[in-house]
Symmetry: C2
Subunit: 115 residues, 2 copies
Amino acid sequence: MDLDRSLVSGSMALLVLKLLEERDLYGYEMMETLRARSDDTFHLKAGTLYPLLHGLEEKGLVTAYEREAAAGKPRRYYHLTDQGRCALTEKEASWHRYARAMHRVLKGGACCAGA
Amino acid sequence: MDLDRSLVSGSMALLVLKLLEERDLYGYEMMETLRARSDDTFHLKAGTLYPLLHGLEEKGLVTAYEREAAAGKPRRYYHLTDQGRCALTEKEASWHRYARAMHRVLKGGACCAGA
DNA sequence: CCTCCTATATAGATATTCGATATATCGGAT
DNA sequence: ATCCGATATATCGAATATCTATATAGGAGG
């Protein structure tokens, strides 16, 4: 299932990319935004997010820059590149394809004989 | 993400359980049915399916029985137990919750500021 | 002073799925 | 007669994603 492997398991990458489409964000902010946006369904953990962000940076899908915060540690902001925007479009399409197929199997029960 | 871990990565279990809700099936049949039902989106492989079925059997979600085929090797049919039916209901609910959250993040873009 | 909240980071563990390989039988092609 | 492909089940090792736990560091509040 190439679709599954890189997408549904890797849905976090899609979600992060999607958030960055709107504006630049730093890691901690992403966790909170995602939780709020998904109505507390997605609990993206630090141990998942930061390695993921480093991976996206390596692949050239995002760029990073640091900026001082009013207080506390400096924040590392991430920005979506053109390549990242392209990858996002693909991942979104894959997600829709996956969700559609899922729906087809789940609804296509005993009653209507498929198609 | 407990939701994600046991559901979206484990969507194969949900799909298999769903197929068995309708009628008893043997492994090879599931692979073909799933491919057809999902319009060629899901390509469940033998190396994924058989260990999965053994796992479901161990957990008591399905029972198995062998039956001779007209030709070739005897087929191992799987039957959904009450417990399996219960697990299916839960997994379906989880899937809907996940898909809904996903949709909320993907649509809730720059335009409408969320809610 | 200690703890909690913010903020980033890494290492180890766990789970899911895939690819490769093995077995066995049948039908068709060479 | 033999080889190959399709049916049918099974197992092992590898790759990948995510989590838990832990570490660092500054600021705020008790």
